[in-house]
């Protein structure tokens, strides 16, 4: 243990570890100094000044998030003057902010609103000019509303430090400062990967997903359409939070029942397609191990990661699995296999997906994923949007009687469930690849090496004497680190899983906003959501994708076998180098790529 030092907070003496900021020391002692721009996983900005405290001997108040403690320091956190200073700071922020809380999407989920309430702000004293900007609605996934922005800089830091996409910056200065992509480019033309993490860390509504709830409601009211739903593994693990349930409550059955009550004719489960993805992906991997294709093979389920690949790692496109994501596979099977079974025209199907992800909205619109002139998924809504729809429809989500998803695309194995967390796709793929390769059954199917929230995880296993080395990265920043290793040392791994969001899909950009006492990207919350999926896996009799009788039936009746011609037509795709506005320089530009 380091030499402890003495500090005084509000005249009381404490022994604390040196080399930390006032805020961190105070946090551990049970003082929660009000804050706004601070985020524990991001660099210190010191922009908002809400966390000011008084330090004896200093002429001015200091920002506790940035100020280091020293031996004998006397700190006051709650004087009359401090309270007034903080209140003035927040009032000044509010003065430059639209007064439309009651019609704002973040109403009752807004950090600024909570902060203003805790400061006791009940009137405006600094009425003045307010910034005016147009909303940027160009993207199918993430919209930007600079009028709501309070310039805390969390999104800029997140996009650069955690995701390493570097799409956002604070451009111009003073009153004209505004968060934009390079060259003021519209989000749709920028390097934005649509991961939606900026939405999660934004304290207000400066970033939001593009809302498709009204479009979905009107489709649900159309009697001429067959309405088919699917929902991602991690939606069930998080949606309860939007209804005040503890983090990590599995609400699968309640979600199925609610989707039916919302008007869906069929409720399928994306976990079914996760099993299907594993059949294709594991088979593709084994082909590559046999020498047919490039190694390491990298997973392709995460839409934000696909955009990141095309922009920044186009030289690795051949390493990426050609499999579509489970959502797109599910959509394709809905409009082909299922439509044929039902004997209906697929254009009469409205295929909707409830996803933990904002990038899936972007994915659904990708032309290369179309087949027979159709999109597999017509409408994508996030966990937040579907939670709102359930509330709006007046359904008692918490007390509703749980129901099962429909057949033939609703049955799933435990491997399909864990798709929603970092390491889950790898674990599921190993369970199947091992069995297919060796003809034996892998006994120890819970692969601890790929579980947990470590940024980059490594593991290895032996299949018939052949060593297979695997790696898993979550969050695009970790992915970039891992891929930089792969560029230098292509033989280091055989199989790599990448998920674009921290924690994997459970930490997706479309998940419920953090509760009042947690912060976005909180490891404890991500771990609890992941645990809900691991528990789901453990509770299932069928835990391997290839044992899923629904998937077996689909191959028998429609797809023939993994990697068949039919599979290739509907379940596989290809990716192309993209060099949009504001590219990060990295290696990407130095590599010859065909436009």
């Amino acid at each position: 243990m380091k030499n402890m030092i003495t500090i005084f907070i509000n005249d009381k003496e404490y022994k604390v570890e040196p080399d930390q900021t006032i805020m961190k020391a105070a946090d551990k002692l049970g003082f929660k100094i009000p804050r706004l721009c601070y985020h524990p996983k991001l660099s210190i900005e010191g922009a908002c000044r809400v966390c000011v405290v008084e330090v004896e001997g200093h002429r001015n108040f200091v920002a506790s998030c940035a100020f280091p403690i020293s031996d004998g320091m006397r700190i006051k956190t709650n004087t009359h003057e401090l309270r007034r200073a903080r209140r003035d700071i927040v009032e000044l922020i509010l003065d430059n902010h639209p007064l439309d809380c009651h019609t704002c999407e973040r109403d009752s989920n807004c950090e600024l609103q909570r902060l203003a309430a805790s400061m006791g702000i009940r009137a405006r004293h600094f009425a003045g000019d307010r910034k005016r900007y147009e909303e940027d609605l160009s993207s199918d996934a993430v919209i930007r509303n600079p009028e709501k922005c309070i310039l805390c800089g969390r999104c800029v830091r997140l996009c650069s430090e955690i995701q390493q996409v570097h799409n956002l910056t604070q451009s111009h200065r003073g009153f004209s400062t505004v968060v934009t992509p390079a060259y003021n480019a519209p989000m749709a033309e920028s390097v934005c990967t649509a991961c939606g993490q900026c939405i999660n860390v934004c304290p207000t509504a400066a970033f939001l997903e593009k809302n498709y709830t009204q479009e979905l409601f009107s489709n649900l009211n159309d009697p001429t359409m067959i309405k088919v739903a699917q929902f991602a593994p991690s939606v069930r693990a998080a949606i309860g939070e939007a209804f005040g349930l503890p983090v990590g409550t599995n609400m699968e059955g309640q979600l199925v029942a609610s989707l039916r009550l919302l008007g869906f004719d069929y409720v399928f489960d994306t976990q079914f397609a996760a099993d299907l993805t594993i059949m294709e992906e594991a088979s593709e991997f084994l082909e590559r191990v046999k020498g047919n294709g490039k190694l390491p093979m990298i997973t392709s389920c995460s839409s934000a990661w696909m955009k990141c690949l095309e922009q920044f790692y186009p030289d690795l496109i051949d390493n990426v699995s050609t499999c579509k994501s489970p959502m797109s596979m599910q959509g394709a099977m809905t409009k082909t296999y299922f439509a044929q079974k039902l004997g209906i025209d697929p254009s009469k199907i409205c295929s909707a997906a409830a996803m933990c992800c904002t990038a899936k909205k972007y994915e659904a619109a990708r032309p290369e994923l179309m087949f027979d002139g159709m999109k597999g998924v017509d409408i994508v809504v996030t966990t937040r949007e579907i939670a709102w729809m359930i509330k709006s429809a007046g359904l008692d989500f918490v007390n509703i009687k749980p129901e099962q998803p429909d057949n033939p695309l609703g049955l799933s194995s435990g491997a399909g469930a864990i798709f929603g967390t970092t390491g889950g796709v790898m674990e599921a793929a190993i369970r199947t690849a091992y069995d297919l390769y060796t003809g034996q059954t892998l006994i120890d199917i819970e692969i601890e090496a790929v579980r947990g929230l470590k940024g980059i995880k490594e593991g290895s296993l032996t299949m018939d004497g052949k060593e297979i080395r695997v790696a898993v990265a979550h969050g695009l920043g970790n992915a970039c680190k891992l891929l930089d290793v792969v560029r230098k040392d292509p033989d280091r791994y055989h199989f790599i899983e990448i998920m674009g969001c921290p924690g994997g899909c459970v930490g997706g950009g479309g998940q419920p906003y953090p509760l009042t006492n947690t912060v976005p990207l909180d490891d404890a919350a991500l771990t609890k959501r992941a645990k809900a999926l691991y528990d789901l896996d453990r509770g299932k009799t069928i835990r391997r994708s290839h044992d899923n009788p629904g998937v077996q039936k689909l191959y028998k009746e429609f797809l023939e076998h993994p990697l068949s011609e039919v599979s290739h037509k509907y379940l596989h795709t290809h990716y192309q180098a993209k060099l949009p506005v504001g590219i990060i320089p990295k290696e990407a530009k130095k590599i010859e790529v065909k436009p």
Partner: protein, 161 residues
Amino acid sequence: MTELAQDKMTTLREFMAEVAQREYSESYLIAVLHKAQELFGYLPREVMDVVAEGLEIPTAHIWGVATFYHYFNLEPIGRHVVSVCMGTACYVKGANRVLDALKRELAVEVGQTTDDRLFTLQEARCLGACGIAPVIMIDDKIYGELDSEKVIEIIRQHRRL
């Protein structure tokens, strides 16, 4: 890109290659942008892309720096830069009227460039010639004791140059 622009780009690349050798090369961003503006007169997007690549700095960050400093021009500027001193002495002596006359004569607002690319109109804070207020500066030359008629005559002289 014209041959001339290619030459300028080569000069810029050479300059970046030179600073890349130095310690903390990313801290030379502002110096590189100065060089770029010296060469091109402003910072076109293609130039910022080249700087991003050369210094391995994300374009968003370069955009942040380029828009933060008033010194950097993001649009092409005119052959003559007309700066109107809005310092206290000039202001008291009627700089406002001089500026209004210039806006009318050139048909531009502050910060803009005339359609014929001859003049860019700017405001300045005290040019240090308060004794002959109100003053303007065209390129590197000061003109003092102005009023709305005199300033128009000076502009017309420059048009004939």
